[in-house]
Amino acid sequence: MQRIGVFVCHCGTNIAGTVDVKAVAEALKFEPGVVVSTDYQYMCSQAGQEMIKEAIIENKLTGIVVCSCSPRMHEATFRKTAAAAGLNPYMVEIANIREQCSWVHKDIPTGTEKAIILGKAAIAKVNLNAPLTPGESPVTKRALVIGGGIAGIQTALDIADAGFPVDIVETKPTIGGKMAQLDKTFPTLDCAACILTPKMVDVATNDKIRIFSYSEVSEVNGFVGNFDVTIKRRARYVKEDICTGCGLCTEKCPQKKVPNEFNLNMDNRRAIYIPFAQAVPKVATIDPESCTMLKTGKCGVCSKVCTVGAIDYNAKDEFITEKYGAIVVATGFNPISMDKFDEYAYSQSKDVITSLELERLMNAAGPTGGTLLRPSDGEHPHTIVFVQCVGSRCDSCAEKGKEYCSKICCMYTAKHAMLIRDKYPDTDVYVFYIDVRTPGKNFDEFYRRAVEEYGVHYIKGMVGKVSPEGGKLKVRASDLIDGKQLNIDADLVVLAAAIEPDKSARPLATMLTASMDTNDFFTEAHPKLRPVESPTAGVYLSGTCQGPKDIPETVSQAGAAASMVIALLCKDKLTGNPCVAHSDEMMCNGCSTCEKVCPYGAITYIDKEFRMPDRTTKVRRVAQVNEAVCQGCGACTVACMSGAMDLKGFTNKQIFAEVDAICK
């Protein structure tokens, strides 16, 4: 039997104005288990708390009920009070007689009657409370960052800066991501490489950071603080630790006709290649799809020219398993395929390009060496048409495109238009837009400069059709403001393709049990207040995997994710919320129903041997809750028909007791 103390708070007149607190304390004296019941002006005050502490010690209380304001207000306070007096903090229940009683009811008899009932319910519950201890689990002080773009790089650097080891897993042979492919960045127009490559070097030289390039995550087990991750290191046929990145092999390789994905296939690379000059790690990679040696066994040129003997044609995929305390997802984005947008003639003309392709065409390290030339004939384009919102903001029923705004297109198009006008003032630049969206520091100013200083023609309206004709691109568009249909003979058409999450995100989300929205963007734990955490504890989100973002935003989120990770890794042990689900193995029949409704993947099954009453043993499948992962929602408790799954702190019996007390 519990020994319960009841403490009724006046809250000045907040409660006492509508509730006869003395009568409440008096009425609750005779409830089962109650040994002391008293009232006080302000329970939450220092003196009030002292009173509770003394009562706990003096009466050897095993549980207390505080009839006061909402538990959302002072539950934590009174739990600390109880703990200070040596009582388990989870032996405290609050009867909310302020927000849900005195403040909403007018007359004293009504308020008093209800307060008594609420008090009885709390007493009924506390009678069934059990001391709870938050579970503890150790924290592996290492973080994994999945994706080596600017988001991943920034997150990794920030975490490493705090002294924790970080591994980056990147599917490409080099880190750098999309930003490495960009030419300049808005709104300051500094060169992407100039600001990115130093960070890449920082990553490479930071002894806290390991880079697993040309690798992917193949399995994730465990939970916050204790993830076991298997990383598949794809065979690159070049020994990473030996290769010096001299590049000789990439010059001598006879297979010259491999489309260069870094330049978006606008030029070619060799079968052995280093994606770009500042690649990190600067190590060659053999593309097994194109390598003659690997395909036919004849060639071996690279091996012959390699002075350090780094080539290894027999390399195999390797799997390594590592423990991590936290995982940051930074899988980034890709422009969507333009295949479904026939009206823009993307597949018909080389001169219809996406904005990312334009970045490469304008980049000094790009296929044209930085001179803007038409991909079809290498001529200088004089009329350039930019089309906005290609595949963004589409109707959900439309088969092509995405419903959301891709967010970055307005700004990079302004940047492109401005750069072109700056470098080639003889060029006419038209931008067809639906809306120009420039919320961001110095963004609108930047856009206005494109219009006002650089004379870019911004036309409200959309391009309806692009038809290649006689070496030109006939662009038919409407000018909504002028009420005209325009026909422009363009030399180059640039499509602001919508962006979408990388294809690797979906299977990764499944492995991480992190949730995704219908567009395959990772869902954040709370859209406003927890924007960098996934709902799965220990998994954080960085960059465009969570939604379209520009670089400054990505970097901010990367830093925020890093700080969340650091805050986690700083702890030696994680203490969880003790109000978690618990499976009674004797009752559990292992049916897997609870597992299906758990949003956190906190439930696993084991085959457990039970000693039967007749001294035989029986192996049964039973559910186990990982208390470090469970967040205590209780979905499983209702899914469980045998009642084996219960929620500590909100057990079936406790809630029944509350119902009973209220319905008395």
Binding site: M586, M587, C588, N589, G590, C591, S592, T593, K596, V597, Y605, K618, R620, R621, A639, M641, S642, G643, A644, N652, K653, F656
Partner: protein, 330 residues
């Protein structure tokens, strides 16, 4: 009358036993009369030859017995499954209730099973029952022979058979049938069209007869809890006998809710109820609601299916929209 004979099954079982595929057989054992058939485990060909039966009274669904039976030995057990039994079989596999590797399942065709309660309603003191084609001849002690149309005395679940197709088996005897467009929801729809008062009166009358013998639960292949919440003194809802009409409702509502999405509509609950309560209607109500709200779903049609009640979409209908639909009045 069933289309295959007992001898076909006995031979199949003997063959599988002597081949060492299985070392025992879950089958129907003859009783004192023609109709009181008991599920049994046969472990010798002799027993099979003497006591195995297969006739119009072999309603028992063996799926649930497999939970206990597969734990007894490492060897395989042979089980004969009628089409509707295979759904329970799959559902139990979905819930990891027995090891598939320890079972050799032989699917057998079924022409529907006869409801002895129905026969006994009109005929007392039954000496013998003979099956011939579409008729049943009931030989009574005092009133001579009565010939009944077999179709009239089938079990409710067989009158409204939902599938002659086996969804699980290692081996099939005879040809597999088809899934049938049955009228099994008609009775539910009829009740839905009544007024709330009529429905209340209907269920009050039906459920008030409940004696809480738990036969419905204990025969149910979906009720496989280690310990039912209604038996568990620590569950907070344990009770033994209905001391108030509320408890009858509580038990049956919660039981139906617990099997919602898992009930294959095998009809055993109604078959065994000693008080003749049409318990299957509660389960069918859930099934028809699930079909209507969340798309057609047949529990047990495939192993590993995720029941709609442990699933969701962001566009589901609101509970307020689930009530007061169509024929259901205020």
């Amino acid at each position: 009358m069933q289309e295959i004979t007992r001898d076909v099954l006995v031979n199949k079982a003997s063959e599988l036993m002597s081949a060492g595929t299985v070392d025992r057989v879950l089958g129907w054992m003859r009783g004192e009369f023609d109709y009181d058939i008991t599920p049994a485990v046969f472990s010798t060909e002799e027993e099979l030859k003497n006591n195995f039966v297969w006739n119009d009274f072999c309603g028992a669904n063996f799926s649930k017995y497999l939970i206990r039976e597969t734990q007894k030995s490492e060897n395989k057990v042979l089980v004969f499954l009628k089409p509707c039994d295979t759904y329970s079989f799959n559902q139990l596999l979905t819930e990891h209730r027995f090891d598939r590797e320890k079972v050799y399942a032989v699917g057998i065709p079924c022409n529907g099973m006869v409801d002895m309660t129905e026969i006994k309603k009109a005929n007392e003191a039954i000496k013998a029952i003979e099956e011939s084609g579409d008729s049943i001849v009931v030989k009574t002690l005092y009133d001579g022979d009565v010939t009944l149309d077999r179709a009239d005395v089938l079990l409710e679940r067989c009158k409204n058979c939902k599938s002659k197709k086996h969804v699980a088996y290692d081996e099939l005897i005879g040809d597999d049938g088809e899934i049938i467009e049955s009228a099994r929801f008609d009775e539910v729809a009829k009740l839905e069209k009544m007024t709330a008062d009529e429905r209340y009166a209907f269920w009050q009358n039906e459920l008030s007869r409940c004696i809480r013998c738990n036969a419905c639960r204990d025969i149910c292949p979906a009720c496989t809890c280690e310990k039912c919440v209604f038996d568990n003194p620590n569950s907070g809802v344990e009770n033994k006998a209905p001391a108030d009409s509320f408890e009858e409702k509580m038990f049956h509502i919660i039981r139906a809710f617990h099997v919602a999405g898992r009930c294959t509509d095998c009809g055993e609950c109604s078959r065994v109820c000693p008080q003749g309560i049409p318990l299957h209607l509660l389960n069918r109500k859930f099934i028809s609601d699930i079909n209507e709200f969340y798309g057609e779903y047949q529990a047990g049609s495939e192993v590993g299916n995720r029941a709609p009640i442990v699933n969701y979409t962001t566009e589901d209908l609101e509970p307020g929209e689930a009530v007061g639909r169509g024929g259901i009045d205020a």
